[in-house]
C-alpha cells in the first residue's frame, strides 16, 4: 500500500482502530473503519460533510460506543472505556465548537485539565503547570479573565492548552482551524507542529485544504462512513474518486 | 383604699400594668381558616370584657401572634409573646404540631396556657406534666367517643351494622385509626372497609367503587373541607347506597349546604350557629352586631369562651398570680354556647374543658345544618338513606 511509504518503518502504533462501525437507527454513520496512527505522526481525516468524520472522532474519544469493532491506545483496549479513562490513558481532544468553562478563569480552565488529566497531582502543582501552558500558548496575559470574555482565536488556544494539560500521547483536533483567517491558521499550524515535536501524535479533522497540505504526514479520506482513500496529501488529492467526492471541479478554490 | 382606686384608675388610663394575654394562632398557612375564626372570637370577647370593666379594673390587652401553621415559626413567635411582650397568660393554639413545638419554651417559662385547639394525642403527652395547661377542645378520643355513641344508637334504631371508613393519610385522619377500628368492632359493628385517601386530591372514584362492593350502612370519612364535595359527588354518581354519609372535617366548604349534593350528609360539631341554646343565641347576636355576619366555624365561639372564662378567673383571683388564676379557672362552671364549661382530668392532663358530651351531630337538610343528635339538641328527625 502506498500509505506505508509515508510511515517510518521504526514507528510504533499509538492509536489503532479495527473495523469500527456505528449505526444510528438505520443509518450507518461509520462502517468498518480501520486505520493505524503511528507515534509522532500527524494524521488528517478529511471527507465531505456527512462522511462520518465527526462520528469517528466521537467513537475515538468515547462520546459513543462503537456498534462493532475495536480500538486500542498503545497496548490498551479502550473500545468501551469511558471518556475519563481514555483521558487517563493518554487521549486528548479539542472540540470544533470551543467549549470553555465560561464562568471559570482561563487559568482555572487549563488547571482542570492538568489536575484531572494526570494522576496524583496536587492543586498548586497543577496550577503551575497550567500557567506554563498558558505562557506556551500565548494566553498568559489573559490568565485571570473569565473564559467567556475571550475572542474566538483565544478560545481555540485555550481549547488546545487545556487538552495539552492532560498530558496526552495522542491529541484529537476537531476542525480547530475553522473560522481562522489564513495568517492565523498559519500560526496555528506552527503551534500544532510544535506540539507534535514535543512527542505528541496528532489526529485532526479539517476542511481547509492548505492546512491539510501543510500539516498532515498522512491523510485518511472518508466518504459515506467508509475509508475512501489513504496516503500522503499529494496521493489522495490525485485520486479521482477523492476529487469527485470531496474537492469538486475547482480543487484550487481554497488556495 | 381610695388611694388604691385612684392609682388603679391612673394605671388603667395609662394602660400600664394592664393584664396582657398573648394569643398564638395560625393566621396564615394551612390552619388559617380556624385561626382567623378564632381571632374574631377573641376580639368579640375582648370587646365585651373591656366594656364590662376589663380585668382587675384595667382594660384587658390582647397581643396576637401568627404561628404560620409551622413549628419553626411558632417557636420564636411564642417566645416573643412571652419574653418581649411579657404577656401574663397565653391563649390560642389550633394546630397540634405547633403546639407540641412550643411545649418546650412553655415549660421553660412556666407559661400559663389556656389552649383552645390542638386535639391530637401527642399534644396531651407533651403537656402532661405542665402545671398551667388548660385545654378547652375535646381530645381526639373524646371526639371518637361521641361518634361511637351516635353510631350505637343508629345500630339499635336503624340496624346499622356495617361501617366503611375513609380517612385521609395525614395526621388528622390517621391518628388512632387502629384503635377506632377495634373500638367499632368491639361495639359489635362490622368494619367492612377502611381506606386511606389523599386529602385535596378529589380522587374518590376507586374508593367509592370499593365501598360499593363492601355494602356499608354508614360511610364514615375523616378528612378536610376540600374532600366533602368530591366525595359526595362520587357517592351519588356511582349510586352507592348508604344509610348515612358521616364526616368530621374541621370545617365545611362555604355554601356547601346550598349544594344539592350535601343533602343528608351528616357530621360532627361542637357548635352550630343555629343552635337554640340561649348562650349560643347571645353569641350569634353579638357576633353579628360586631362583624355584620354570622360564622360557621366553632373556633370562633370556642375562642370567645376561652377568653371570657380566663378573664373571669383572673378577676376572681384578684391578681395575675398563676396559681391563683389556675385555681379559679379550675373551678369554672359557666354556661357557654357549647353547654356548661367545667374542667376535669383527661387521660393525661389535669384540666380538660369540653369532652365527648359537648359534641353534637347534625345533618345537612334543606339549606341548613340541622342538629339531629343527641336527642336533646335535635331539631329535626334524621334522614336515614336505607
Amino acid at each position: 500500500m502506498s500509505a506505508a511509504q509515508s510511515v517510518p518503518a521504526s514507528a510504533l502504533p499509538v492509536l489503532r482502530a479495527e473495523n469500527l462501525s456505528k449505526r444510528f437507527g438505520g443509518l450507518n454513520a461509520v462502517q468498518n473503519v480501520s486505520f493505524t496512527h503511528y507515534a509522532g505522526e500527524i494524521l488528517a481525516v478529511i471527507g465531505p460533510n456527512g462522511a462520518g468524520k465527526t462520528t469517528l472522532l466521537n467513537l475515538l474519544s468515547g462520546v459513543y460506543r462503537p456498534s462493532t469493532g475495536r480500538l486500542w491506545l498503545q497496548e490498551q483496549d479502550i473500545t468501551n472505556a469511558p471518556m475519563e479513562r481514555r483521558c487517563h490513558a493518554g487521549l486528548g481532544r479539542a472540540f470544533q465548537i470551543v467549549r470553555p468553562f465560561p464562568e471559570m478563569t482561563v487559568h482555572e480552565n487549563v488547571t482542570v485539565g492538568a489536575l484531572f488529566g494526570q494522576r496524583g497531582i496536587r492543586l498548586p502543582q497543577a496550577r503551575e503547570q497550567a500557567y506554563d501552558l498558558l505562557e506556551r500558548t500565548g494566553l498568559a496575559a489573559h490568565a485571570d479573565r473569565a473564559a467567556h470574555e475571550l475572542t474566538l482565536l483565544q478560545d481555540k488556544r485555550l481549547e488546545v492548552a487545556r487538552a495539552l494539560a492532560t498530558q496526552p500521547r495522542v491529541l484529537l483536533l476537531d476542525e480547530v482551524m475553522a473560522g481562522l483567517r489564513p495568517a492565523e491558521a498559519q500560526e496555528a499550524v506552527e503551534l500544532v507542529r510544535g506540539i507534535r515535536d514535543s512527542g505528541i501524535s496528532i489526529l485532526f479533522i479539517e476542511h481547509i485544504m492548505p492546512v491539510v497540505r501543510d500539516l498532515a504526514d498522512r491523510v485518511v479520506v472518508m466518504d459515506q462512513g467508509q475509508v475512501l482513500a489513504e496516503g500522503t496529501y499529494r496521493e489522495v488529492t490525485a485520486n479521482p474518486q477523492v476529487v469527485a467526492a470531496y474537492l469538486g471541479t475547482e480543487a484550487g478554490l481554497h488556495a | 383604699m381610695k388611694k388604691m382606686l385612684l392609682t388603679g384608675l391612673m394605671l388603667a388610663l395609662s394602660g400600664a400594668g394592664a393584664v396582657k394575654v398573648g394569643v398564638l394562632l395560625p393566621l396564615s398557612g394551612a390552619g388559617s381558616v380556624s385561626g382567623q375564626a378564632a381571632r374574631s372570637g377573641y376580639l368579640l370577647a375582648l370587646d365585651e370584657i373591656n366594656r364590662a370593666g376589663g380585668v382587675l379594673g384595667k382594660p384587658l390587652e390582647l397581643e396576637f401572634g401568627d404561628d404560620g401553621s409551622a413549628p419553626a415559626k411558632a417557636v420564636p413567635e411564642f417566645v416573643k409573646l412571652v419574653t418581649v411582650d411579657k404577656v401574663d397568660f397565653m391563649a390560642g393554639g389550633v394546630s397540634s404540631a405547633t403546639s407540641i413545638a412550643i411545649s418546650g419554651p412553655a415549660k421553660q417559662y412556666n407559661t400559663f396556657m389556656a389552649w383552645i385547639g390542638a386535639a391530637a394525642v401527642p399534644v396531651e403527652d407533651a403537656f402532661a406534666d405542665h402545671k398551667y395547661f388548660f385545654h378547652y377542645h375535646p381530645w381526639a378520643y373524646y371526639n371518637f367517643e361521641a361518634i361511637l355513641g351516635y353510631f350505637k344508637t343508629l345500630k339499635t334504631q336503624r340496624k346499622a351494622k356495617n361501617i366503611a371508613i375513609a380517612y385521609e393519610d395525614g395526621p388528622f385522619g390517621s391518628a388512632g385509626i387502629d384503635a377506632t377500628i377495634s373500638a367499632f368492632k368491639k361495639a359489635g359493628f362490622n368494619v367492612v372497609m377502611a381506606e386511606k385517601f389523599k386529602t385535596g386530591s378529589g380522587n374518590f372514584g376507586p374508593l367509592v367503587s370499593k365501598a360499593k362492593a363492601a355494602k356499608p350502612d354508614i360511610l364514615y370519612w375523616i378528612g378536610y373541607d376540600t374532600d366533602a364535595l368530591p366525595l359526595a359527588t362520587e357517592v351519588k354518581q356511582q349510586n352507592l347506597q348508604l344509610g348515612l354519609l358521616y364526616g368530621t372535617p374541621p370545617s365545611w366548604p362555604v355554601g356547601f349546604e346550598k349544594n344539592k349534593l350535601s343533602d343528608n350528609v351528616a357530621g360532627l360539631s361542637l357548635w352550630l350557629p343555629s343552635s337554640p341554646q340561649p348562650e349560643s343565641r347571645k353569641f350569634v347576636a353579638a357576633y353579628k352586631k360586631k362583624f355584620g355576619t354570622t360564622t360557621e366555624e366553632y373556633f370562633a365561639p370556642l375562642a370567645y369562651v376561652n377568653l371570657k372564662s380566663l378573664a373571669a378567673s383572673i378577676n376572681a383571683a384578684g391578681s395575675t398570680d398563676k396559681d391563683k388564676v389556675a385555681a379559679e379557672l379550675a373551678k369554672t362552671n359557666m354556661p357557654t354556647p357549647f353547654g356548661p364549661l367545667t374542667f376535669s382530668k383527661s387521660l393525661k392532663t389535669q384540666y380538660q374543658g369540653f369532652k365527648s358530651g359537648n359534641w353534637l351531630h347534625f345533618q345537612f337538610l334543606g339549606d341548613a345544618r340541622v342538629p339531629v343528635y343527641p336527642i336533646r339538641f335535635a331539631q329535626k328527625p334524621m334522614v336515614w338513606g336505607k
Partner: protein, 261 residues
C-alpha cells in the same frame, strides 16, 4: 466563473408581478455604525454601502466586527451610534421582524435552523412573516428546490439530522423564501467541504444574478473577493479599506494579511 452557473436555476417562470418587484435589489447604507455587547464595544465606525443588485463582501480578522455589523443590520444588536438605511428607510432602531418585513434576508452564522422541524417546514417558515412571500410560497419553494435539488430529496427529514452542508442550504433557502431584496450571509463556508462550499457559493451567485443585493461575510477571502463586486476590510471595528474585489485581491497588504501568499 460565470460560465459555471447552472442555467436551469434561473427563475424563468416568474411573472412580472409584485413578487418580482420585491426582488429588485434594495440599497443598504450603513453610516458610522457603532455597536457592542454590554460594556464591550465591538464596532467603532463602520460605513458600508451595498447598492441595488450589488454583491459586496466584508473581510477581516476574527473579532473585527463583521458578524456584529450583520446583526446590527438585522436589528438583533441595537447600535449605539450611526445610522442604517434600507431602501431609503431608516432601520437603525428597527426590530428584527420589521427589518425582515422590509425585505432583508439573513443567513446567520451557525445556520440557526429549527432542528426538530422538517426541511420543508423550515423553508415555509421563511416565507411566513411576509404576506407577499406567503402568497408566492409555492413558486419560491420550487425555485429553492431547483437551486438545491438535495433539499427536495430531504424535504421530509428533520433539519437537525442533515449534514452541515445541507443545513447551510436550508439556511440559505429559508432566507430566500422571504423573497428578500437583500441577503446578508454570515460565514456560509464554515465547516463545509470544498465541494459543498462551491455549491453554496454558486447559489449565492445565482441569487445575486436575479437582482438580489448580497452582503457576504466570509473567512475564505480569496473566494469571496473573486465573487464580490466590491469589498470592505474591517479591522478592530472600523473599515480600513474598500475597493473592488479585483483591486483588493491585487492589494499586497490584503494578500499578505488574508491570503497567506
Amino acid at each position: 466563473m460565470n460560465e459555471t452557473r447552472p442555467e436551469q436555476s434561473r427563475p424563468d417562470g416568474l411573472k412580472q408581478d409584485a413578487t418580482t418587484q420585491a426582488r429588485a435589489g434594495q440599497e443598504l447604507v450603513i453610516e458610522h455604525l457603532a455597536a457592542g455587547y454590554g460594556k464591550v464595544q465591538v464596532l467603532w465606525d463602520v460605513s458600508v454601502r451595498v447598492g441595488p443588485g450589488e454583491f459586496v463582501a466584508m473581510i477581516g480578522a476574527n473579532g473585527a466586527g463583521k458578524t456584529t455589523t450583520l446583526r446590527a443590520v438585522s436589528g438583533v444588536v441595537k447600535p449605539t451610534g450611526g445610522r442604517i438605511q434600507l431602501g431609503g428607510r431608516d432601520i437603525t432602531r428597527a426590530a428584527p421582524s420589521e427589518v425582515v418585513a422590509l425585505g432583508l434576508g439573513h443567513v446567520p452564522e451557525g445556520r440557526e435552523l429549527f432542528a426538530m422541524m422538517t426541511v420543508r417546514e423550515n423553508l415555509e417558515l421563511g416565507a411566513a412573516m411576509r404576506p407577499e412571500a406567503r402568497a408566492a410560497q409555492q413558486d419560491t419553494l420550487e425555485q429553492v428546490y431547483r437551486l438545491f435539488p438535495r433539499l427536495q430529496e430531504r424535504s421530509k427529514q428533520m433539519a437537525g439530522t442533515l449534514s452541515g452542508g445541507e443545513q447551510q442550504m436550508v439556511a440559505v433557502g429559508r432566507a430566500l423564501m422571504g423573497l428578500p431584496s437583500i441577503l446578508v450571509v454570515d460565514e456560509p463556508s464554515l465547516g463545509l467541504s470544498p465541494l459543498m462550499t462551491q455549491t453554496v457559493f454558486e447559489a449565492l451567485k445565482v441569487v445575486n444574478a436575479e437582482g438580489v443585493s448580497v452582503l457576504l461575510v466570509e473567512q475564505n477571502v480569496g473566494l469571496s473577493l473573486r465573487l464580490a463586486h466590491r469589498a470592505y476590510v474591517l479591522e478592530n471595528g472600523q473599515v480600513v479599506k474598500e475597493g473592488t474585489g479585483e483591486a483588493l485581491l491585487a492589494d499586497p497588504g490584503v494578500r499578505a494579511a488574508y491570503l497567506a501568499l
